[in-house]
């Protein structure tokens, strides 16, 4: 997949998964170009090197002077187009670089969302890039930017706060088919993915709280929701007018003593 987006929230730190992806690429002898905005390259390097990873990683420092306030030439300024930061060109060897952006929400503070998405699209569509890995925080970005990011990604991993790791994976195939699955896994001491398994998760258990009923239930003391048994009873109830319409009805009228009963149609004079 060309563009892989890893989305975290405030309740879970997904950097371990990012480093696991980096490590798996290093094992296949790919070159990594890593743009870091939240940790200094030295601190990130100590994090990667402590896991015994190979040193085929080129770091771009988007942390120390992201806005150009200190005029440090060796640092990357995040106001310009992202594709101009990385060294992407005709690969001298057969291996194309893997580009990692950690974290994209820090980059979005420095430039317009439209330009940012355009840059990401260019990098992911570049034939000289093996893969683009984007690490994002869902609750630190505007919703429109997050949705655009998910749109251009060919695979999105939404991390959920759970132990072991639980994530929702959305995979877009080249044929246009979209696959969605929930998976659980652990990270081993060497950051390799272990005990990977697919889980069946109900929609409400997956933490998707956008359901209007759930929102209403939280906001009022009245019980506006139905249990499963109540829903079944409600569906089985036959309303009186429904019963009559299906089986036919009769009108029973008992005239009083003072009624002048005759067989004439009272509506006969109407031109209906």
């Amino acid at each position: 997949m060309q563009c892989l987006t890893l989305i975290r929230s405030a309740e879970i730190n997904g950097r371990g998964v990012v480093l696991s992806l980096v490590k798996s690429h290093l094992h296949t002898n790919n070159e990594i170009q890593y743009l870091t905005t939240a940790l200094s390259p030295a601190r990130l390097k100590s994090c990667i090197e402590s896991e015994g990873l190979a040193l085929k990683v080129t770091y771009f420092d988007g942390y120390s002077d992201a806005g150009g306030w200190k005029n440090i030439a060796s640092c990357v300024h995040l106001q310009g187009p992202l594709e101009q930061i990385f060294s992407i060109g005709s690969p001298k060897e057969s291996k194309k670089p893997v580009v990692v952006i950690d974290k994209i929400d820090d980059v979005s503070n420095h430039q317009d969302s439209l330009n940012l998405i355009r840059s990401l699209h260019k990098i992911s569509a570049d034939e000289n890039v093996e893969q683009l890995i984007v690490y994002a925080s869902a609750d630190c970005m505007q919703e429109n930017l997050m949705s655009s990011l998910c749109q251009i990604a060919s695979a999105t991993i939404h991390l959920q706060p759970a132990v072991p790791y639980r994530c929702k994976i959305v995979l877009k195939k080249p044929s246009g088919k979209v696959l969605q699955s929930y998976e659980e896994f652990n990270l081993g001491p060497d950051l390799t993915v272990q005990d990977n398994r697919t889980v069946e998760v109900e929609k409400h258990q997956a933490g998707e709280t956008n359901d209007a009923d759930a929102i209403l239930a939280v906001q009022t003391t009245f019980n506006l929701t139905l249990t499963e048994d109540q829903r079944k009873s409600k569906n089985m109830l036959l309303l009186p007018h429904t019963r009559v319409q299906s089986s036919g009805g009769q009108i029973h009228y008992t005239p009083d003593d003072v009624d002048d009963w005759d067989e004439e149609d009272p509506d006969d004079d109407l031109d209906i």
């Binding site: 405030a10 309740e11 879970i12 730190n13 997904g14 950097r15 371990g16 480093l19 905005t37 939240a38 200094s40 390259p41 030295a42 601190r43 100590s46 994090c47 896991e51 942390y63 120390s64 002077d65 992201a66 806005g67 306030w69 929400d105 820090d106 979005s108 503070n109 420095h110 925080s137 609750d139 630190c140 991390l159 706060p161 759970a162 132990v163 790791y165 990270l187 001491p189 950051l191």
Partner: protein
């Protein structure tokens, strides 16, 4: 320095002396002044330089709070151990048009700028730079970054400013921290910008201390909830550790206890 706060932090494996970024969020009905005094008194007691940027209250307010907790901040400032950057005073200079510097830290109030907090950062940097050059440890406290939202500063610009302040506490060899950065901000669920700031800053700090008033009202024995959210730097720890305490502000102390164990209950 309050032993209860120190013990709560060390219980989560965090020592203030090791440095790093600390985030304190307060609500409209709970004040972080006690915790601010804790960090200021830590810096003084540990013989560190202290740089205090006050954006929300006057320096006199913090001195009064500190004196209630037994810390004489005025004397510390007079002796040069605490350097104070009074945001309210600087803002009033701009509003009265009583400044000559082109790089006044709050000149953006009258003249819009694409990078409004750049000058404020440089003022802070010039204050701590002599300490950094001599490898001397220091404490940098910035109280009330969310107040900048009221001046028209965007949340993204505040995040950039705080990230730059984080670079000031990095050690020269980048493997340890030379300083302690304490950021205080307001928490409000209905304010999207304030929530964005907290969500962003909470992810890059060592500890997020969240002060909330009791949801059911006021109590004589309990003044609010204090939640410690410890973020691990190791890539193997994905979930932060959360510890919830209830607190009571006393004369010269902050008392912490587990929920449900206050004097009024026991």
């Amino acid at each position: 320095m309050f032993d209860s706060i120190k013990n709560a932090l060390e219980g989560g494996g965090v020592r203030i002396a090791d440095g790093g970024s600390f985030l304190i969020s307060e609500s409209a009905t709970s004040s972080a002044s006690g915790l601010v005094s804790h960090f200021l008194s830590f810096g003084v007691a540990d013989n560190r330089h202290v740089c205090f940027v006050s954006l929300q209250h006057t320096w006199g307010h913090y001195c009064n709070i500190g004196s209630k907790f037994g810390v004489n901040l005025r004397q510390q400032a007079a002796e040069g151990k605490v350097k104070v950057i009074e945001g309210l005073k600087l803002m009033s200079e701009v509003l009265k048009n009583d400044f000559q510097e082109a790089d006044h830290p709050f000149s953006f109030i009258l003249e819009p700028s694409e990078q409004p907090l750049r000058n404020l950062y440089h003022v802070i940097r010039r204050t701590v730079e002599p300490w950094r050059e001599n490898d001397e440890r220091f404490v940098l406290v910035i109280d009330g970054v969310s107040s900048l939202l009221n001046l028209g500063v965007l949340s993204s610009q505040i995040e950039i400013f705080v990230n730059y302040c984080r670079t000031l506490i990095e050690g020269n060899n980048n493997s340890d921290y030379l300083g302690v950065l304490v950021i205080v901000t307001k928490s409000c669920g209905k304010d999207e910008d304030a929530s964005l700031i907290i969500n962003s800053l909470a992810q890059c700090c060592v500890v997020h201390m969240s002060l909330e008033a009791l949801s059911t009202g006021f109590s004589r024995e309990i003044h609010g909830n204090l939640r410690f959210i410890f973020n691990h730097t190791s890539p193997h720890h994905a979930l932060p550790d959360v510890q919830l305490f209830q607190y009571k502000m006393e004369d010269k102390n902050i008392k912490l206890f587990a929920p449900g164990t206050s004097a009024s209950v026991l």
